[in-house]
Symmetry: C2
Amino acid sequence: MDQRLERIKLTALQERIVSAEQAASWIKDGMAVGLSGFTRAGDAKAVPNALVKRAHEEPFQIDVYTGASLGSGIDGRFAQAGIVRKRAPYQSDSLMRSAINSGKVQFVDHHLSQTAEWVRGGVAGPLDFAIIEALGITQDGLLIPTTSVGNSMVFAHHAKQIIIEINTAQLLELEGLHDCYEPQAVGSRQPIPLVSPRDRIGTKGISVDTSKVKGIVWNDQADSPSPIEPPDAETDIMAGHLLAFLRGEVQAGRLNQNLPPLQSGVGSVANAVLHGLLDSEFEGLELYSEVLQDAVFDLLDSGKALFASGSAITLSQPYMERIYQNFGRYRDRLVLRPQEISNHPEIIRRLGLVSINTALEFDLYGNVNSTHVSGTKMMNGIGGSGDFGRNAQLAIFVTKSTAKNGRISCIVPFASHIDHTEHDVDVLVTEHGFADIRNLAPRERAERILANCVHPEYRPQLQDYFNRAIAQGGHTPHVLDEALSWHAKYMRDGTMLKKSP
Amino acid sequence: MDQRLERIKLTALQERIVSAEQAASWIKDGMAVGLSGFTRAGDAKAVPNALVKRAHEEPFQIDVYTGASLGSGIDGRFAQAGIVRKRAPYQSDSLMRSAINSGKVQFVDHHLSQTAEWVRGGVAGPLDFAIIEALGITQDGLLIPTTSVGNSMVFAHHAKQIIIEINTAQLLELEGLHDCYEPQAVGSRQPIPLVSPRDRIGTKGISVDTSKVKGIVWNDQADSPSPIEPPDAETDIMAGHLLAFLRGEVQAGRLNQNLPPLQSGVGSVANAVLHGLLDSEFEGLELYSEVLQDAVFDLLDSGKALFASGSAITLSQPYMERIYQNFGRYRDRLVLRPQEISNHPEIIRRLGLVSINTALEFDLYGNVNSTHVSGTKMMNGIGGSGDFGRNAQLAIFVTKSTAKNGRISCIVPFASHIDHTEHDVDVLVTEHGFADIRNLAPRERAERILANCVHPEYRPQLQDYFNRAIAQGGHTPHVLDEALSWHAKYMRDGTMLKKSP
Ligand SMILES: CC(C)(COP(=O)(O)OP(=O)(O)OC[C@H]1O[C@@H](n2cnc3c(N)ncnc32)[C@H](O)[C@@H]1OP(=O)(O)O)[C@@H](O)C(=O)NCCC(=O)NCCS
Ligand SMILES: CC(C)(COP(=O)(O)OP(=O)(O)OC[C@H]1O[C@@H](n2cnc3c(N)ncnc32)[C@H](O)[C@@H]1OP(=O)(O)O)[C@@H](O)C(=O)NCCC(=O)NCCS
């Protein structure tokens, strides 16, 4: 007997095994599919790759919903094959990005807690297929997810049919890690009964209507590692500023010494800043986050962090090897949840999170751009930064003060795209310092940001803008003709820096 | 015996009665005070007026926190007297607006659910005094609010001292209307146990530490009526478009015939649009809103609406007379809550609200400006529009397509200030139609908005902008040099309309 069949404990489903190619052939032009996968973790791999192969023979286009970004080069190959019409809610692939920015793919940039509401509410979809990676299927018909839960539960519950990819390359010890809970339909909702990052409120797998399971596919491809950059001298300094801020809050009696649960965003900078907590006085930390990156495991190893709740585990290659070889050490201190729950406004507000996300740029008044380079070109998407930023007790955004070797100032007169408004941003951190802008009027905020965050090379020209804006007056002073001129100048001259006179 | 003393059932407090002047004398330069009052309803009146008088003799400045806007000309007199240093979270007075826009008053524009968190968390304040209008004080020391609850509870709980204004002009039948609940401190919060607009989860008044009550002042001044404009032909048409949208949602099976609980924003347009439901097929409506304006009472009268939950009752003069003379008819169908609860993300998401708020302008891609005229001058503030817009099931924004006799287009290339980002806006309504932009990519949104919302006079020039932006490419195409040029042109030429060639 095929050893792998032991993964399908509900034996009636064993006869549904098909090849990836066969499963891919069911996906027709015009369909909408929901794929498992969240920041490269737990993505369905076999059927998507078979779909790309099919595209060589036959033209078709589909709408693709996921948890968040896919790994395994799938988004890139989807884009190259031209088979995606609509893509939501998040991606981070350079080829997909080009297709989006040229208008070939219609990308819808959702808050990551929103997609589930829209699938359940009939706004996104209807989904023809859910394609979900699983460790296996229990006797009761629960799908056990792998390294992410993401949107898999809502996709499996609401798609017309389900294809399951059983991934034998994923660690069997992941079983028991997941806590699968779906809120009731609007109109009969009860409070979500989660009051601590450690609480378990759901089931260990995703219940499925087995009559919808059209096929089961084998797969043995590992997740792709994350391309995260290790901390560097600048991010160490930024982490220092963040710690100084947090320390001040503890001293002022506004935070406890062991801090509220932390959330830390995707990317190198957020990871590096979180890493900075390792060398701090803070102890007994808990995370209530979305993607659990390398730094979370360092914090668990050191004993600084006691517990981490997330929706996915996304590690760099060296961390993958280290962590998954000793997974038993971590299992009891981790839980993975649907992204609707990891990012739920109700929970984030209740727990009073400290949330740390990365900005591309922010402006004089504290408006943050997380998504659009020069206001027009999509980078990745807002991800969960809005879910967390809006509802957290402390919404902290970090960025280096310049990009592209100083040719771009990440602090500008007017953010060229706004993902997080002045109302939602509490603290801004660059390598030059932090600006705590809570409960300040716009002009007060501008002064703090100018003094603490801007790169010295850009400070004179930003101060000059601010002075001239104030001369024109208004609650939020601007020189409208110049507000976006720094970005226009960068596109024209390759730098935002004005020549000194 | 002074009949009024019956209002103070906790007799030990009767000896704390002082004159408004005496109470005002306790407020020192540099203090922070929290005043009751929400959209002109239930504002403390006597002590604020005495403070203004004192300013003639003695210079001082204070920070003023409220529920929302004050009536009774208080904000205007505060501004004229120059006694306000910082003002939060909302105002709507023309003199205060001027002081804010000239930079004399530091205005902090909070989400209305946020202020309570910041007062409780020690970010706003500390408050030296809470000055709270009440109907009376019960034997158990509960303060009974009047026509609003607003932030009175959190102010009373967290200010160092309390001054109570007992207002004998307010209807005694208001007692029993209020449901006062304060969430636990962050770190030990339980779910808020409210699952229907009708639920009562708190006490009928605000519990106070009587040792903090420094004085009680008599007051007999009525609330100021709201200056709301009645519905007109254009708002009737807008209401028609909104109804068409809602009808479509019911037909598509996404909403029930009696609709989810409704929220409707402040101002003439939102009131008029809500009024439009009177002549619709929708029945059994419930409101879970913030300010209850005239139209809510028409809906209750007609039997279309069965219940309304809010934080304040704000009526025009004729409605005030009509409603308060027959208040018994409404009492069982109303509840007033702290604004933290009426606007709480947890509840708004749970109940799946349909939320309707007014925009000043919005842009091609669905970003909404609710606050800043030409990006710089504060109108009123974001109020609750962000609390509702972000968390509602349906975030609908309405505005006429032009302002100032057609010299301003309310649909522009790039919103000159962004309060509600493209991620948070679901449906836009003008007198030309509605654009349902849910789950659409930016370019798809632009096409719908161009086709359905823009005034025909402005459509050619907006289409022209969009065409040229697309030629430059990007996920959200823009011509950066021109993005804010319509506003600059209005400031220069007095109109956004380009002359036809
Ligand atoms: C903002 C974000 C792109 C930063 O990613 P990161 O890996 O931490 O940061 P980096 O400094 O490496 O910047 C990434 C790229 O953006 C560029 N960049 C940074 N600031 C820029 C700016 N103001 N203008 C143009 N480009 C900029 C960098 O140069 C770099 O370019 P490269 O890839 O060509 O080297 C990323 O955090 C993100 O997508 N955030 C939005 C989603 C989110 O916050 N989710 C949180 C919940 S998980
Ligand atoms: C946006 C808002 C000002 C509209 O108020 P309204 O009474 O419904 O609308 P009106 O059409 O009368 O517009 C108010 C004024 O703004 C002006 N205006 C409207 N659009 C404008 C624009 N795009 N640019 C400049 N001025 C504009 C109008 O001409 C009018 O001016 P006037 O007072 O000189 O006559 C008001 O709804 C608001 O403050 N909203 C923010 C808070 C909120 O939404 N709270 C909701 C939860 S309660």
